[in-house]
Symmetry: C2
Subunit: 152 residues, 2 copies
Amino acid sequence: MQIDAVDQRIIALLVADARASYADIGTRVSLSAPAVKRRVDRLRSAGVIRGFTAIVDPASVGWTTEAFVELFCAGRTTPAQIGAAVRRHPEVVGAYTVSGEADALVHLRAADIAHLEEALERLRAETFVTSSRSTIVLSRLVESPGVGPSTG
Amino acid sequence: MQIDAVDQRIIALLVADARASYADIGTRVSLSAPAVKRRVDRLRSAGVIRGFTAIVDPASVGWTTEAFVELFCAGRTTPAQIGAAVRRHPEVVGAYTVSGEADALVHLRAADIAHLEEALERLRAETFVTSSRSTIVLSRLVESPGVGPSTG
DNA sequence: TGTGAAACGATTAAATG
DNA sequence: CATTTAATCGTTTCACA
């Protein structure tokens, strides 16, 4: 899809505040509210903007424990298989196939260590998992929403 | 802070759609729009809800390359120091201090391999970094916004 | 904390340049 | 593709239970 400079600025404004009004965004990008709406609708239907979400402090809702788990998988395991499997576990907040020793890296979030351990056992019980290596998160230093930096 | 069951449901609805109207949320939780607004305002000022953001497809805006970098730091490096340093790099979308061999895990997102390499060099140039180990992301299988699972 | 009323502002479709 | 108009709908404050 074609994204021009104005789209970029609209995206950046929505990443910064997903509840900003079209009129507000319009004044910042020198466009009328309907024009902004049409662009946002187009960006949404094109899949550039996937949705809008609230950023919640995990500790406030009782999920205080995090870990990254490297997964070592059986010879002929496909990324799709890994993806389908990890999506079944609600504790998985991120998962990636990676280069290097491990085959996949899974980001877990749980209520506490006991919950994390339980989730880990469930994950390791997936048939294609041959072994795993876990790293507990001690503190969160940065966690950006959206695409990251300038959205460009 | 005190979070009751209604707050939980409001949070879940906002994680699902940050642009939902207070009236809409109100009908789903059996509350008037002003009541919902007051709760959301309270959750925001208490830091439970940190903000609202758009979820953008990174590929659509040209950031297609990702990596996780384990950072090994000099003896007396504090998490605050690491946090302050990594926040200066716009490619950093996540950073955590961790247990295990490495001291920190940094999640990077860049336009391409060249950009990633450049960001990596900048990161490794931080005075407290003694060594690093990078893992390139081959594919993204899962990436949940918000707090993760049920927000409860 | 909750509600309803009321003023204000935002959204959205239609018509038009 | 943008704009203006105009009806509709959402937001937000206020008085009150």
